[in-house]
C-alpha cells in the first residue's frame, strides 16, 4: 500500500519542462527572451501560465495584447485538456524541453475555448469530476459532499496541495466492497489521427462473472487497433501520465491511482516511435 501512496504522489507531482517563446510576429518593443517553466502535468495551461504572461507583457505594448493562447508546432493547445495529456499526445517522444509558442493575437475561435478567468477553469474542472462520479457512483458521493468540499478539491489543484486535494478525493475513490469496484470506469482515449476528439464508453471494472478487467480488456473492447497482435511490431503506444502501463494492469486500480485530478483516466494512443 505504501507503493500506492507513492504512485499517487508521483502522479501528482509530475512536471514537464517547457520553453515558452513569443511568436515572432508579435509586435514587441524589444526582443523577448524565452521563458522556461516546469509545468505540472495534472494542471491546466491557463492556470499556471501567469508568470509567462507577465514576462512577455513586459516587452509588449498594452494595446497589442489580447487573449493569450498557446500552440505547439502549429496545433493550438486546448487549455481544457490537462497539460500532461497535451504533452503525451503531441510531444511525447520529442526532445525536451517542450517548446510552446505564445500568441497574443488572432485567437483561433474555431479551435479553442476562451478562458477569460480562473472561474471558467474551475467550472470545467468540477463538471469533469461530477461526470466521473456519475459513472463511478451514480453521482451519490459527489452529491453528498458539501460545497466547501468541492471548493477544497479546486483549491487543492489550484495551489498544488496534494494532501488538501486527496483529503476529499479519497472519498471519490471508495466503492462498496461487495461491488468490487466502481460501477463504470471513467476514461477517455485520445487519438492523434482521428476526427473524434476522444473515445468514451461505458465499461465495467468487474465482469459479470467476477473477472477483473484489465487495460488490455478495455482496449480490446473499445479500440482494439491499439493492441498489436503477437506477430506484428508494436504500432501504438498507450500512454498514461507519460508511462506505458502493462496491459494486464487492472482497470480498477488504474482508475483509482492513475486518474487525473478530474477523476478521469486520460489515455493517449500515439504512434510508436520508429527508431
Amino acid at each position: 500500500m505504501a507503493d500506492d501512496k507513492d504512485v499517487l504522489r508521483d502522479v501528482w507531482f509530475g512536471r514537464i519542462p517547457t520553453c515558452f517563446t513569443l511568436y515572432q510576429d508579435e509586435v514587441t518593443e524589444r526582443e523577448a527572451e524565452p521563458f522556461y517553466l516546469l509545468l505540472p502535468r495534472v494542471s491546466y495551461l491557463t492556470l499556471v501560465t501567469d508568470k509567462v504572461k507577465k514576462h512577455f507583457l513586459k516587452v509588449m505594448k498594452a494595446e497589442d495584447v489580447e487573449e493569450i493562447w498557446f500552440e505547439y508546432e502549429g496545433t493550438p493547445l486546448k487549455w481544457h485538456y490537462p497539460i500532461g495529456l497535451l504533452f503525451d499526445l503531441h510531444a511525447s517522444n520529442t526532445s525536451l524541453p517542450w517548446s510552446i509558442t505564445v500568441h497574443f493575437k488572432n485567437f483561433p475561435e474555431r479551435d479553442l475555448l476562451h478562458c477569460p478567468c480562473n472561474s471558467v477553469i474551475e467550472a470545467h474542472f468540477m463538471s469533469s469530476i461530477k461526470e466521473a462520479d456519475a459513472l463511478k457512483h451514480k453521482s451519490q458521493v459527489i452529491n453528498d459532499m458539501q460545497k466547501k468540499d468541492h471548493k477544497q478539491l479546486w483549491m487543492g489543484l489550484q495551489n498544488d496541495k496534494f494532501d488538501q486535494f486527496w483529503a476529499i478525493n479519497r472519498k471519490l475513490m471508495e466503492y462498496p466492497t461487495e461491488e468490487g469496484g466502481f460501477r463504470y470506469i471513467p476514461f477517455r482515449i485520445y487519438l492523434t489521427m482521428s476526427d473524434r476528439p476522444f473515445i468514451q464508453k461505458l465499461f465495467r471494472p468487474i465482469s459479470p462473472d467476477g473477472h477483473t478487467h484489465t487495460l488490455g480488456d478495455l482496449l480490446k473492447e473499445v479500440y482494439p487497433v491499439a493492441i498489436a497482435s503477437d506477430d506484428e511490431a508494436k504500432r501504438y503506444q498507450v500512454v498514461i501520465h507519460g508511462i506505458e502501463p502493462l496491459l494486464e494492469t487492472p482497470l480498477q486500480w488504474l482508475s483509482e491511482h492513475l486518474s487525473h485530478p478530474d477523476n478521469f483516466l486520460h489515455i493517449s494512443v500515439i504512434p510508436a516511435p520508429s527508431d
Binding site: D3, D6, V7, D10, V11, F13, G14, R15, I16, P17, E33, F35, Y36, L37, L38, H55, K58, L96, P97, H241, G242, I243, E244, P245, L246, E248, T249, P250, W253, H257, L258
Partner: protein
C-alpha cells in the same frame, strides 16, 4: 500466489515507469530552469538600470558629438559626470536606508501597539470570564430564590386553604351557637312564663287562703259572738322566730280568741257583755262593727279633708324620756303614735286641741326608729334598733308579732298595700319582705347600702339609702327596676295620696319631688335655714299633696307650697332642738312634729 506476483509485476512496472519519467522529464531540467529564471530576473533588473544609465549617457554623448578631438577631456568630463552620478546614487542610497530605518521603527511601534492591544484583549477576556462566573452565581441564586418563593407560595396556599376551612367550620359553629342561643332564650322565656304562672297561682292561692281565713274568721267570730268568752289577763305573748310557723297555717289573731281568754270581763250576762267584750277586745270604739280586717272606713283614699297650713302650736308636750324619733297619725286622724329612744311607742288622742296620752306599746328592746299604721289603723308596725320589727294591735296595745332576722338596726318598716306583707329596711344593707300569715321572711334583697326609709306602691317598693340613691324594687321580681341618684344621703321618702309623686329628703338639705311616671325631679325645695338634722329626718306631704312639711336641725318647721314651689311658712318658735319627724293628719287639720329633745308639738292653723 501467481496473482500477487502478477499484481506486483504490473504495479512495479508502473512505479518504475513513473520514476523513470520523473528522472528524465523533471529532475534533469529542474535546476536549469530555476537558475535560468533567476538569471532572467537579474538581467531584467540590469536592463532597467542600464536603460537609465544609457539615457543619461546618450544625452552626454549627444552634447559632445561636435568635438570629436577632445577625447581626453571628454573622458575626464565623462569620468566627472560618472563620479557625480555615483555621488547622487550614494545619496539616494542613504536616503533609502534612512527611510528603511524609519519604516523599521514604525514596524516596531506597531508591534508594540499590537502587544498592548493583545494585553487589553486578554484583560477584557478575563473580565468577561469573571462576569460570566458572576452571572452563573447569580443565576444559581435566582433559581434558589425562585425555588424558595415557590415553597413559600405553596405554604401560603396551604395556610389559606386551612384558613378557609376554619372559616367554614367557624361559620357552622356560629350558626349552631345562634340556634342554641335562640333555643335557650325560648326555653328561658317559657320558664319565665311558667314561673310567672306559678307566681300567679301562688298569689291566687294566697288570696284564696286569705279569703278562706277571713271567711273562717268571720264564721268563728260569729260563733264567738254567740258565746260568752272569759277573758284571761295572762296572755301568751307569742314570740315567733322567722323560720317557724310555716306549717301552722293559723293566723295569730285567731289564737287569742281561742286560747287566751282575758279575765277582765266583769260578770255580765253573755248576751249583753258581748258587745262590751267585743269592744274590750277590739278597742274602745262602740258603734264600730266587729272584725278588724274588713274595717276600712278610715283608709285615707282620696282627699277627705281640707288641708290647712298650720300657723300656731296648739300643744307642746313631753312625749318621751329621750329622743323622739318617729311620729305618725293614724288613718282615722284620731290617734297619734310617737316612738322614741326610750323603747316605747306612745299613743295619744287628739282631743280638742290637745294630745291626751292613751297608752304605750312596749316590747322593743331598743329605740324605735319608725312607726306605721296599717291601712285600717288597727295594727301598728314599729321598727327598732334591736334588729327587729314589731306589730301591735292598736286597741289592746298587745304585741302580736316580732319579726327578727336583720343583722342590723331596722331603720324603716312598712306595710305593703295588701297589709299582709311587710317590707323592712335595715342598717345591714338589706331589705326583707315578711309574710304576716306565715310570719316568715319571704325575700331578702341586698340593697348595697343601709336603707333609711321605705315607701310602697302596689307594684313597687322604693327605698332611700345611705349611698344617696333611691332604689325602686319590683315586688315580684327581686330586682331593682330603677335607681335614682340624689346629691346627699336619702333620709326620708314619702308618697302623695295617689302615689304618683315621691317626696325625698336628703342630707344636702334639699327636699325634692320626683314624678314617678317620668322619673324626673319635678321640684326642689330648699330654704335658708333648712338643714337636715340627722340621717332619719322625716318629711311629709300634706294629705292632698299640695304642701310639704319638713323639720330642720334648728328646730324650725318649714312648710312649702307644692304648686308655687315656695316656702309657705316657717314655724320656728316652739322647738328647741332638731326636728326628727313630721306627720300631717289625714284630715289636714293638724301637723305634729317631734324633736330630739323629747318634745312634740301639735300645730294647727287656729
Amino acid at each position: 500466489m501467481a496473482e500477487r506476483r502478477l499484481e506486483c509485476s504490473w504495479k512495479r512496472h508502473v512505479v518504475e515507469q513513473l520514476k523513470q519519467r520523473d528522472r528524465v522529464q523533471r529532475h534533469a531540467f529542474e535546476e536549469i530552469i530555476h537558475q535560468y529564471n533567476r538569471l532572467l530576473e537579474k538581467s531584467d533588473l540590469q536592463t532597467v538600470l542600464s536603460e537609465r544609465y544609457q539615457s543619461d549617457k546618450y544625452d552626454l554623448q549627444n552634447r559632445h558629438d561636435s568635438s570629436p578631438g577632445l577625447d581626453l577631456s571628454r573622458n575626464d568630463s565623462l569620468q566627472q559626470e560618472m563620479a557625480q552620478m555615483r555621488i547622487r546614487h550614494q545619496e539616494e542610497l542613504t536616503e533609502l536606508h534612512k527611510k528603511r530605518g524609519e519604516l523599521a521603527q514604525s514596524v516596531i511601534e506597531l508591534n508594540h501597539q499590537i502587544q498592548q492591544k493583545d494585553k487589553e484583549i486578554q484583560s477584557n477576556e478575563a473580565k468577561m470570564e469573571e462576569y460570566q462566573r458572576q452571572i452563573a452565581e447569580l443565576e444559581g441564586e435566582c433559581r434558589e430564590l425562585r425555588g424558595k418563593l415557590q415553597d413559600l407560595e405553596q405554604a401560603n396556599q396551604t395556610l389559606k386553604d386551612e384558613y378557609d376551612a376554619l372559616q367554614i367550620t367557624f361559620g357552622a359553629l356560629e350558626e349552631k351557637l345562634r340556634r342554641t342561643t335562640d333555643d335557650n332564650q325560648e326555653l328561658v322565656s317559657r320558664w319565665m312564663a311558667e314561673k310567672s304562672q306559678e307566681a300567679n297561682k301562688l298569689n291566687a292561692e294566697n288570696e284564696k287562703d286569705c279569703k278562706r281565713r277571713q271567711a273562717k274568721l268571720q264564721k268563728e267570730l260569729a260563733e264567738a259572738a254567740k258565746e260568752p268568752l272569759p277573758l284571761d289577763p295572762d296572755d301568751d305573748i307569742e314570740v315567733l322566730a322567722e323560720d317557724s310557723g310555716k306549717g301552722t297555717g293559723e293566723t295569730s289573731p285567731n289564737r287569742p280568741l281561742s286560747r287566751t281568754p282575758s279575765k277582765r270581763v266583769s260578770g255580765q250576762s253573755p248576751q249583753s257583755s258581748l258587745l262590751g267584750s267585743i269592744s274590750n277586745i277590739f278597742g274602745r270604739r262602740p258603734g264600730n262593727s266587729y272584725g278588724s280586717s274588713p274595717e276600712c272606713t278610715e283608709t285615707p283614699s282620696g282627699v277627705c279633708a281640707d288641708v290647712r297650713v298650720p300657723a300656731t302650736a296648739l300643744h307642746v308636750f313631753e312625749a318621751h324620756d329621750g329622743e323622739v324619733n318617729a311620729v305618725r297619725f293614724s288613718p282615722g286622724s284620731r290617734l297619734l303614735a310617737t316612738g322614741g329612744m326610750d323603747r316605747r311607742v306612745k299613743l295619744w288622742e287628739v282631743v280638742s286641741g290637745r294630745c291626751e296620752p292613751k297608752g304605750a306599746l312596749t316590747g322593743s328592746n331598743a329605740g324605735i326608729t319608725s312607726i306605721e299604721f296599717d291601712s285600717a289603723g288597727s295594727y301598728l308596725l314599729a321598727a327598732s334598733n334591736d334588729f327587729a320589727s314589731r306589730i301591735w294591735t292598736v286597741d289592746d296595745f298587745r304585741l302580736r308579732h316580732t319579726l327578727t332576722g336583720h343583722s342590723g338596726k331596722v331603720l324603716a318598716a312598712r306595710f305593703l298595700l295588701d297589709n299582709a306583707r311587710i317590707v323592712s329596711g335595715s342598717y345591714d344593707r338589706t331589705l326583707k319582705l315578711w309574710d304576716l300569715r306565715s310570719k316568715v321572711c319571704m325575700k331578702t334583697v341586698f340593697a348595697g347600702s343601709s336603707c333609711n326609709d321605705i315607701v310602697c306602691t302596689e307594684q313597687c317598693v322604693m327605698s332611700g339609702h345611705f349611698d344617696k340613691r333611691v332604689r325602686f324594687w319590683d315586688i315580684r321580681a327581686e330586682s331593682i327596676v330603677r335607681e335614682l341618684e340624689l346629691m346627699g344621703r336619702v333620709t326620708s321618702l314619702d308618697l302623695n295620696h295617689d302615689r304618683t309623686e315621691l317626696l325625698t329628703c336628703s342630707r344636702d338639705d334639699l327636699v325634692k319631688i320626683i314624678d314617678l311616671r317620668s322619673n324626673a325631679v319635678r321640684q326642689t325645695f330648699s330654704a335658708q335655714g333648712f338643714k337636715c338634722g340627722a340621717d332619719w329626718t322625716r318629711v311629709t306631704f300634706s294629705p292632698d299633696g299640695s304642701y310639704v312639711a319638713g323639720g330642720s336641725a334648728d328646730g324650725a318647721l318649714y312648710i312649702w307650697n307644692v304648686l308655687t314651689g315656695k316656702l309657705e311658712r316657717t314655724l320656728d318658735k316652739n322647738h328647741s332642738s332638731a326636728i326628727n319627724s313630721v306627720s300631717w293628719s289625714p284630715s289636714g287639720a293638724y301637723v305634729v312634729s317631734v324633736e330630739k329633745g323629747c318634745k312634740a308639738v301639735l300645730w294647727s292653723d287656729m
